[in-house]
Subunit: 689 residues, 2 copies
């Protein structure tokens, strides 16, 4: 690969005397002003440090000069905002993490696919129970997921900071999270799809959120796949004939915060393992790109005399980049050429081919990552099993399609473009190139899983207008097993550069041992200069962060409190909120006894503080947090009943459960809210039937 | 209160010129050596920073000199260990967090009371399913808890770093976590107890883990409390007569990692709200202390004409510190004087009084925090509704008890000591004093919830031998709403000093807005010098951290991999592990069909990769991760079936579920483990019945 070691390429200006370094620090300190705002200013200690202190710290803590710089570049004092917010998937924790950059502090975990009691998510709060039920697969109540690739809603292809989307690989689901209150508002199971890569990509104005399936699902011909219903005996022949992949263009209704299956569509695909997908802008507007592996159609079966899946699925030198004309697909659906299957309009493979919606281009061996440069012109694919980044040119793709220049068809009749016709460049980068992101100066950065490095390279025009396009210009060793990487607002028309986060899989000797399940981890890298520089190591012992999207923090504008009586599901007044109402009503409803309670929470009282009902009653509690102060969250839990709700200021929530067991049960505010928080409690009396 | 503002009390030596400050930094840099070890050294960038760089960073980032010091004191380069590990409760997330100090990075979340898919906790892995079931209350499968006060196992009263204990306030449960692998090994529901404060305190050699109840439970006379069974109509009279509190001394079997109810005992207590408990050492060895609120016995009932609970429960000027002679209690149990109720030996209130096991001392108004100084001599109580820290002297307590000097009895006949007889001192500190911790120099630190500060004071001899005992010596403003605080190894004979963590409740303007549910947060404070200094602000958007225990990191010695075929529940060979065995066996067992599978996972293959069974089969998968390399965790998930397991290197786990729905379902390794991780998959074929 002939790569120069980083050590050799240090520019001379970096070799500076320590005396000089300190002189600069003096000058720097002279200009540092008062930080923080409001209350925070009172808290920042006013005392300047003593001489001895600074000397001792550096000595005692054995800090290198580079560490001093890193510390100064990443320390964010209280009261100061971080520059970027990073939304990281939580892998099979099923959740999403919100992290500040450059401080690398976790501001929030957002419950998405997994019930989470702190957020009152899935523990009796009706809106969340219904959401998780609706987002299940019809055969069981799903309480876990495998989140991989978050996406932010877009306006004119730019990230607009309003919505966050995340997929569940394990069950082929998609969730929408409002960045107004950082809560999950919708989950849908993708029809006819069993798994997907946990991805999501928004079209330029978030008309659709798209994603491809991962492992193909068994289809009943003409009827698609239904979880728990569709059975096809697994054989190599049946796999080819009856299993299918999909890409789903889920319509998203921004106003309602809901996916709209009736106005969505799906394209039937061959049973390859479809992988990451992205929708273009500018010259690639209207097109989506989806890579694939296992075009070998291997099914595994080592005990049945076949080779293991990972061997059999890695035979071909090329797999297929799927090129999808989604605007044409939308037209075709409007023309009534799609077939309804399990609640969604499906463009069959036959129709997709006939209508010129689907094309393939060869892509090197089991690729991963499918990313578009700022200009919208280049589609960049990581080679994974080839040491190459492959760059496609949408102009060439469009010309080749217009000219009908194909090398042939895949076994399902999909036209395959000639590699040389659509390729812009291939760059030899390192071993295991997995995923590319971009900066604001026309550079790409690729993570190399096997050679453990990030490699920086130039793109071509118009992204990079220098005289050496598609050249490696820098590389930095990465701790260990880098998966994806993230740069701010990459994969949009205006990447922001400045930072890069490497999402690393193994802890090795970089972090303290906390048992055999070790934290995956992030490395924050400064990419503002010519050479990449490591700034910070962050363990993530919370889940398996798979991929992250970073956005300028000021683009996200959350609310602090709800208007009094708001149902967060709709941001409208809760149907059951009545100003000032507290009380208990017991009556029969469709033959069953219901005890309905209007409750309020405010520091430090729950009203009513005694609820009396009879065993077997359906308890329906409409609880309003009547606080109007930021931060004044109250929670509500019932002992022995597994009930937990979180009520943010102004929120009304309905909590429902059957009082199936007699007794007297304490309930209390579970959020430490005031000096009399311990006394913010009451009793549920369930009289035996 | 006449408290001087911090600004006025800055010592003169802190006023130093910026030039001097920088000169010191130069000297410091000269002595900073190479950091990190092993692989990590390769990664630390070798280039020293340029003059311009340092100047620009401080200028651009608007850092104050104090921020520079804070950054340098908290930055922990990759490959360097943190000095302390902090185990923080996760509040109503139900989990525990492991945080490094001073870097304030989260190394790990430990699943305790809430199922967590990333850790494969409660998603089909039989050992965790059984643990959660056993730890439930017999009336429903509990999937949430409210963790408050972690405790570390002790040897000679010192924290030994082997076990971690945490309570569930919501359902009165206690969990034991092994710090060998950071996994929960046991959960028990405390008999006769509905809620407790989420606390835990170990006796000096971890003979018992003790804790008091929180809200009293209804008792059937002589039979105690059974969830879902015991009903007593809630009236003021019945509450006094039939509701009871408890303190439970749970025997812990270190070797088996299990609580041992048969050798545990419980003491019946009046229905006050018992609160935090601690067991003494040295002069207080054999004694435990438990504070209480609501000695008014209020039950609330605003809709029934009674005052709200928090008003009615705050009437008395004094509540009762419970003083328990647990060694005598142990004897009394051995003498057969305890009564078995719901699986535990209960010392009735009558017996406890008669045998001299239980005494009360007045404690100021609704106190919180109950802590013992290093010497074991002083018991320190936060006043909460009084601006006082009250210090009791165990020598005085023991003398007063020996002399039978009582001011009278509480309504239940418990002898009450005279306040003046047992008090060592009262220190006026600030508003809302909540909790005290100690350093290695004889100082106490108290969190003041209402005046938002930490106040430092001197103790008395032998903890502090200076000439001004029990005096306030420093105070530092705290961001907002400080609850508990934590110093390393406080509440043991050898606190370590150096750092203090303030656990703050509200975010206010100190952190970025991430929606109405804002992060609680930590402030790291340097207490190594005379004056406290703020170092770091850390948001905790994961749960409600309630209290934390900090321990020298080198005391915790986790393993990295299990021996091949280990069942982590016992650290022994898994009963079903057979070296080298892979295969599928189908047979009838007690009239039902069982498909039993021996599986292995290793980069990048699951064997077998096709499992065929019939609808209705009980699937029993014995999965072994045959890796022997640190970090090489594999996971296992089945699409649509809500099954998720995590297999650390060497681990064998049994996953069980009923194949109730026909179809062909993908399963795969959910942990990104290798370049062919995506292909590490297989199929479960469920043939229709």
């Amino acid at each position: 690969m002939g790569v120069e070691k980083k050590e050799k390429s240090q520019p001379k200006e970096n070799k500076v005397s320590r005396r000089g370094f300190i002189a600069a620090a003096v000058a720097g300190l002279a200009v540092g002003g008062a930080a923080g705002f409001g209350l925070s200013r009172l808290i920042t200690p006013a005392a300047p440090p003593t001489l001895r202190q600074v000397e001792d710290i550096i000595k005692q803590r054995n800090l290198q000069p580079a560490h001093v710089v890193s510390a100064l570049k990443t320390y964010v004092p209280g009261g100061m905002p971080d520059e970027f917010l990073m939304f990281s998937s939580g892998g099979h924790s099923g959740q999403v993490m919100v992290i500040g950059v450059p401080s690398m502090r976790i501001y929030r975990i957002i419950a998405v696919f997994t019930p989470e009691p702190w957020q009152g998510y899935g523990y009796g709060d009706v809106k969340t129970m219904k959401l998780l039920e609706k987002g299940s697969n019809g055969i069981r109540f799903l309480t876990c997921g495998d989140t991989h690739h978050p996406e932010i809603s877009r306006t004119n292809a730019e990230y607009d900071g309003e919505w966050l989307f995340i997929g569940d690989k394990l069950n082929a689901r998609k969730a929408a999270i409002s960045l107004k209150d950082f809560e999950t508002k919708d989950i849908v199971k993708l029809p006819n799809t069993q798994t997907q890569h946990g991805g999501a990509c928004a079209t330029p104005n978030t008309e659709y959120v798209a994603c491809g399936s991962q492992f193909a699902a068994p289809w009943e011909p003409g009827k698609g796949y239904k979880p728990g219903k569709t059975y096809v005996k697994l054989t190599e022949q049946n796999f080819k004939e009856y299993f299918r992949g999909t890409t789903t263009f889920l319509r998203f209704d921004r106003k309602r915060g809901k996916f709209d299956l009736a106005n969505s569509f799906q394209i039937e695909l061959p049973p390859y393992m479809q992988d990451l997908e992205i929708a273009g802008w500018g010259p690639s507007d209207g097109w989506a790109f989806l890579n694939s592996i296992n075009t070998e159609l291997a099914i595994g079966g080592v005990l049945e005399g076949r080779p293991p899946l990972e061997i059999a699925a890695s035979q071909n030198d090329f797999d297929y980049l799927h090129i999808i004309n989604w605007k044409k697909a939308e037209q075709v659906v409007r023309q009534g050429k799609a077939k309804e299957m399990n609640g969604i309009k499906v463009i069959t493979l036959e129709t997709a081919i006939k209508e010129g919606i689907l094309f393939f281009a060869p892509e090197p061996k089991s690729p991963h990552g499918c990313d578009i440069t700022a200009s919208g012109r280049y589609i960049v694919i990581g080679g994974k099993l080839e040491p190459l980044v492959t760059v496609y040119d949408i102009e060439k793709i469009k010309r080749a399609i217009a000219d009908q220049r194909f090398q042939g068809e895949d076994p399902y009749g999909v036209p395959v473009l000639r590699f040389e016709d659509v390729k812009a460049a291939q760059i030899e980068v390192g071993l295991g190139p997995l995923h590319d992101e971009f900066d604001d100066k026309g550079h790409g950065y690729v993570s190399c899983f096997i050679s453990n490095e990030v490699v920086k390279y130039t793109l071509g025009p118009p992204d990079y207008t220098g005289d050496k396009p598609f050249q490696v210009v820098d590389r930095i060793p990465i701790h260990y097993n880098i998966g994806h990487l993230a740069t701010p607002e990459s994969n949009s028309p205006t990447p922001k550069g400045k930072y890069l986060v490497a999402l690393n899989k193994w802890s090795v000797d970089r972090f303290m041992n906390v048992g055999p399940l070790l934290p995956q981890n992030f490395q924050l890298i400064d990419i503002s200069g010519e050479k990449m520089q490591l700034l910070y190591d962050m363990p993530i012992g919370i889940g398996e962060p798979h991929y992250a999207k970073m956005i300028s923090a000021d683009k996200v504008k959350p609310i602090s409190v709800y208007e009094l009586g708001t149902d967060p599901e709709t941001f409208q007044r809760h149907a059951k909120y009545v100003e000032g109402k507290v009380g208990v009503e017991r009556r029969q409803e469709d033959g069953r006894w219901v005890t309905e309670v209007w409750m309020t929470e405010v520091r430090s009282t729950i009203t009513p503080d005694i609820i009396r009902c009879k065993q077997g009653d359906l308890l329906r509690l409409h609880i309003t947090n009547i606080e109007t102060t930021k931060d004044a969250t109250h929670a509500f839990a019932v002992a022995e009943y597994n009930i937990m709700a979180s009520l943010e200021p102004g929120e009304t929530a309905t909590v429902e459960f059957v009082a199936d067991k007699p007794g007297v049960y304490a309930f209390y505010c579970v959020e430490f809210c005031s000096p009399l928080h311990l006394e913010m409690a009451g009793w549920l009396e369930v009289e035996p039937a």
